[in-house]
């Protein structure tokens, strides 16, 4: 079983290394990730939101709904943990010690 896990992990790693051959170089300023929409955020942050920290502007102003969804995820996780770990008193204590 361990040999099988090792072989499958190495196969996945080799496939991913083959995939990085076409990636842009690390730190390239003209890579596609840095040219599409992030210059717009950097240029218009002061004008639209008057905030020098661009990460805060994008997190709270441009992509506020994303942050709202993240809060929903944390709330759901908290509710799940509380429901899993609470002490069951009324419904027969058969699985409590």
């Amino acid at each position: 079983m361990k040999i099988f896990s090792l072989i499958s992990a190495v196969v996945v790693g080799v496939a991913l290394i083959y995939g990085t051959m076409d990636m842009p170089e690390w730190g390239d300023p003209n890579s596609p990730a840095s040219t599409h929409v992030s210059p717009y955020y950097l240029e218009h942050s002061i004008e639209h939101a008057a905030t020098p920290n661009v990460v805060t502007t994008v997190l709270a102003d441009y992509r506020g709904y994303d942050t709202l969804g993240e809060t929903t995820v944390i709330f759901t996780a908290g509710i799940a943990v509380v429901l899993l770990l609470r002490k069951r008193r009324k419904t027969g204590g058969e699985d409590d010690e």
Partner: protein, 162 residues
């Protein structure tokens, strides 16, 4: 060749970290070890995203200078700041990572409470024997009984009604 290696070694490093996490999730028997492997896996993915946002040559953090004085957007040199968009996405991903960790730890505690062990093979053995987990069997049996009882009662009431 040297330029190619210098431009791509960071991606290979994150792939190595991801393989370590993946192997730990599959091969380790202990549940806490599996959770640790999941944490390493997620950190490697976040490292990959942050790597795409780095820029070469004297790049500063994405906080604009001289923001108080200038009113317009004239002075912003885009090549001088790192790309802020992957940072924002990865802030979300880190918080979701901790939420996942919390739920995984809660499920592990419940498993320990029922089976008194956190080794995967022992848990599977105990499930197969059915010795340490009689509750499920009893549950299933009583559920079947109650269903039979209920259908019986329904049958009788229907008969009475008829």
């Amino acid at each position: 060749m040297n330029d190619f290696v210098l431009g791509h070694y960071n991606y290979w490093m994150f792939i190595g970290l991801m393989m370590i996490g993946f192997y730990a999730m599959m091969a380790k028997k202990n549940l806490i070890k599996k959770i640790i492997g999941m944490n390493i896996f997620q950190s490697a993915i976040i490292l990959f995203y942050i790597s795409t946002s780095a820029k070469r040559g004297g790049v500063s953090v994405p906080i604009l200078e001289h923001a108080a004085g200038g009113h317009g957007s004239h002075g912003v040199d885009v090549a001088h700041y790192a790309n802020p968009l992957p940072h924002v996405l990865m802030l979300t991903a880190i918080v979701v990572m901790v939420a996942t960790l919390g739920v995984a730890v809660a499920v592990t505690l419940l498993i320990y409470k029922r089976y008194k062990t956190i080794e995967e093979d022992e848990i599977l053995m105990k499930i197969k024997e059915g010795s340490s987990a009689p509750k499920e069997l009893v549950d299933v049996r009583s559920q079947k009984d109650s269903i039979k009882l209920r259908t019986n009662i329904e049958y009788r009431t229907r008969n009475v009604e008829l």
